[in-house]
């Protein structure tokens, strides 16, 4: 950038993707709400169920939840459950059914 525009504010770089192809975390959460989702915790435990609601800490209320251990085995089921957000590694939309690993 050769232009000496010394305005003190950083220039906004040209984005690699146009605005409409971006998907912010908030967009993602809106799209996954009320749908089947997989929540993986830092410990490796996975929860599959319907995402009832979320807040800004990624605290999650889930329905019809199945808990899977590190070995992938079903460990427990919960009608309703609350998952504390600080343990959440990632949330995945359950677009395609996973087969094994």
């Amino acid at each position: 950038m050769s232009e000496p525009t010394n305005t003190g504010t950083p220039q906004v770089p040209e984005t690699a993707a146009p605005e409409d192809t971006k998907r912010t975390p908030s967009d993602f959460l809106k799209s996954v709400l009320g749908r089947p989702a997989v929540v993986k915790l830092n410990s490796g435990i996975e929860y599959r169920g319907v995402l009832a609601c979320l807040d800004g800490y990624l605290n999650i209320a889930m329905e019809q939840t199945q808990e899977f251990g590190l070995d992938g085995q079903l460990k427990a089921t919960y009608g309703d459950c609350f998952i504390r957000g600080n343990n959440v590694l990632h949330i995945s939309s359950q677009a395609k059914r996973k087969t094994g690993l």
């Binding site: 950083p10 993707a17 998907r23 908030s26 993602f28 590694l89 995945s92």
Partner: protein, 101 residues
């Protein structure tokens, strides 16, 4: 004054391309970046998780996540935009070694 670039502007440029994420601890994730927010929560497509086997640290368990994910920014340590992660890095190094020999 040289044009300053804010750290997150660099990440913004990586939207639509591959990104390598090193988590706190020893987990790593590679995926296509779709978007992010101020907390550096990331939306990723075609993500692959790399987790060292707890029983044998030299064995890395890779897991393909075949749905879009929201990766919690809380556990993210380092982002490498434009990198395909540990596998592609190993390939690059091999190629370099082959060229040298």
């Amino acid at each position: 004054m040289a044009t300053r670039i804010l750290p997150l502007e660099l990440i913004d440029k990586a939207i639509g391309s591959q990104i390598w994420i090193l988590m706190r601890g020893s987990k790593e994730v590679v995926g296509t970046l779709r978007g992010f927010d101020d907390y550096v929560n990331l939306v990723l497509d075609d993500a692959i998780e790399y987790t060292p086997d707890p029983n044998d640290r030299t064995n890395i368990i890779t897991k393909k996540l075949d749905a879009e994910i929201l990766l919690n920014g809380n556990q993210i340590a380092i982002l490498v935009p434009g990198s395909g992660g540990p596998d592609s890095l190993a390939q690059q190094q091999q190629q370099q070694q082959q060229q040298q020999s």
